[in-house]
């Protein structure tokens, strides 16, 4: 095909994206080598001081990172299990199929922070319906102010919000599966459970990997929900990496230090997501 035309198709998009991104990324790296803060706003050069501080003298960052890993892995596993179950249930004919499909998609279309505002009133300790109903059993968990329970509140809200996305990807996958393997299984008289283990699940493996990775990427950005629901509290018990960087950078204006954290964070994310993708591919496709 003609040689020149292809660049006219590709370049507008590519150059706009690179044009918007390249300077910010270079700038983050440069900024991370400076001591920019509110007393001293400027691009001086202090070498690797910020990185030394980050790796030797800041347990709060690493705690927030492990908290983030815990939150995102837990929510994604829950979303995958529930999403797969739901998609499998509305895949074949059931009553009101379309109604349930649309209904299960709805939470994903709602703005997370706005729904979190509602969830806050929902989990309110004295005026919310959850504790009102639980008071029948005589318990009143402190949903937002107990360091341990607050993590689970975040998980509940995240599962509510994003299971639909998993559901959507997996349902689209189920709908695209070829019919023949299922016919063969039906002829062999396989039970529903065996059919699921030996036919549906292996066929869904590549789609499952894709969906899990996409969700992990998105889940690792958890920030809005935490900001509105608990503001990282009580104490720092629900603080995630993004939120900590946000506090350091745009609240305390330690721009240089925040930049070194965000660059480190970006590298860790790229490496860990690549490893997770490789491992998942091995586990799910070998079986």
């Amino acid at each position: 095909m003609n040689f020149k035309h292809k660049y006219f198709f590709l370049f507008p998009g590519l150059f706009v994206l690179i044009g918007i991104l390249i300077f910010p990324i270079i700038f983050v790296v440069r900024l991370s080598l400076s001591g920019w803060n509110s007393y001293n706003p400027g691009l001086d050069y202090i070498g690797l001081e910020n990185y030394v501080r980050l790796f030797t003298d800041d347990p709060r960052f690493w705690e927030s990172f492990f908290r983030l890993s815990f939150l995102s892995v837990t929510t994604v596993i829950l979303q995958y299990v529930i999403g797969f179950a739901l998609a499998h249930m509305v895949w074949k004919d059931i009553k009101f199929k379309r109604f349930f499909r649309v209904l299960f998609l709805v939470p994903m279309m709602t703005t997370p922070v706005i729904m979190t505002v509602i969830w806050r009133t929902f989990f309110h300790e004295s005026l919310g319906p959850v504790n009102d109903l639980l008071s029948i059993f005589g318990v009143a968990p402190k949903w937002l102010t107990d360091p341990v329970i607050a993590k689970f509140t975040v998980i509940i809200v995240e599962v509510w919000q994003w299971t639909p996305f998993m559901f959507l990807l997996l349902l689209a996958g189920l709908l695209s599966l070829p019919k023949e393997p299922f016919l063969a299984a039906a002829i062999d008289g396989a039970s529903p459970v065996r059919k699921f283990i030996y036919v549906t699940f292996p066929l869904m493996a590549p789609i499952s990997i894709g969906a899990i990775i996409i969700r992990l990427i998105e889940a690792s950005k958890i920030m809005d929900t935490v900001y509105v629901l608990t503001s990282g509290g009580p104490g720092t018990s629900t603080e995630t990496s993004s939120f900590y960087i946000f506090i350091k950078g745009l609240r305390e204006f330690q721009m240089g230090y925040a930049a070194s954290m965000s660059f480190t964070y970006l590298i860790i994310m790229i490496i860990s997501l690549t490893i997770i993708a490789k491992v998942l591919t091995k586990i799910l496709l070998k079986e």
Binding site: N2, L17, V28, L86, M115, A172, S262, L273
Partner: protein
């Protein structure tokens, strides 16, 4: 065994339905309450548990001077930013996706897949990493707190989605149709506009819906890059939250602002199997 399975299935579906609907119902009842009925204890059913009134909904249309919430302007701002950014992303993303699907590129070790991956990998970028340089840059060129600045940032968020969905969609559109068009005397642009695009409408719709969803629900960049001149809907509503807790107007405005995207759920469901979403995630 089979009966048990069916029972379990409907049981699970009903539990999940209740879970999905619960916050909406709670917001709906709360929006008809007043100070008295919110603070007196938890109540559920209007007329029996509490006397409903329209105060929460009335403040939405009052002007701020009279104690109203004024979400009309943020609403249109959100709508404008989301639609413009989505449109630009879809146009640029579709062109690039078409190039990546039909032509081969090679520059050193960089091949088509690497370029595609470059586009998609922008989603891995944590927003916080970009927020600090964007903040400083936009303030340097006086675009902080403006619609244009936000649109530029949102293009970065949305274009990867458009490219991701469209590359795989174009891969599924048979090459023969553009080849036939070229033989019939179209130039490559005409072939793309008149033959390929009309055959890609389901993919374009799915990509468009995804762009609109992810543009509309973004809070983070709007929160960091705008202050008073331009307010987007999510920021406005979260700001309501920090004041004295007027749960009734909070609930009403939350419901109003999540309502438009519910339509998107219907469209996405409709195009689920036609939009080749499963091809895109493999």
């Amino acid at each position: 065994m089979n009966k048990f399975y069916i029972f379990l299935k409907y049981f699970f579906i009903i539990i999940w339905t209740v879970f999905v609907v619960a916050p909406f119902l709670w917001a709906l009842t709360t929006s008809f309450k007043d100070f008295q009925s919110v603070n007196a204890g938890v109540t559920y059913i209007p007329w029996i548990d509490f006397e409903p009134n329209l105060e929460g909904w009335k403040v939405l249309i009052k002007s701020p001077a009279k104690g109203g919430v004024d979400i009309v302007e943020p609403y249109f701002n959100s709508l404008f930013v989301t639609c413009t950014a989505s449109l630009i992303s879809i146009i640029l993303g579709t062109l690039s996706a078409y190039a990546l699907s039909r032509y081969t590129f090679k520059a050193g070790f960089v091949k088509n897949n690497d370029i595609t991956f470059f586009f998609i990998s922008q989603r891995i970028m944590p927003p916080i990493v970009l927020s600090i340089p964007f903040f400083l840059f936009l303030s340097a060129i006086n675009l902080l707190d403006s619609l244009v600045g936000l649109i530029v940032v949102y293009i970065v968020l949305l274009m990867p989605i458009a490219v991701w969905i469209m590359v795989d969609f174009f891969n599924k559109v048979p090459r023969e149709i553009d080849e036939t068009a070229l033989i019939d005397g179209c130039n490559p642009y005409q072939a793309f506009l008149k033959v390929v695009l009309p055959n890609s409408i389901p993919g374009l719709i799915v990509a468009g819906m995804f762009c609109i969803i992810f543009g509309w629900i973004d809070f983070f960049f709007a929160f960091i890059l705008t202050f008073t001149e331009v307010q987007l809907l999510p920021v406005k509503i979260v700001a309501l939250n920090s004041s004295v807790t007027p749960w009734w107007s909070l609930s009403a405005s939350a419901l109003v602002s999540v309502a438009p995207l519910i339509i998107v759920a219907f469209i996405v469901e409709r195009y689920l199997s036609k939009g080749n979403l499963s091809g895109a995630i493999k």
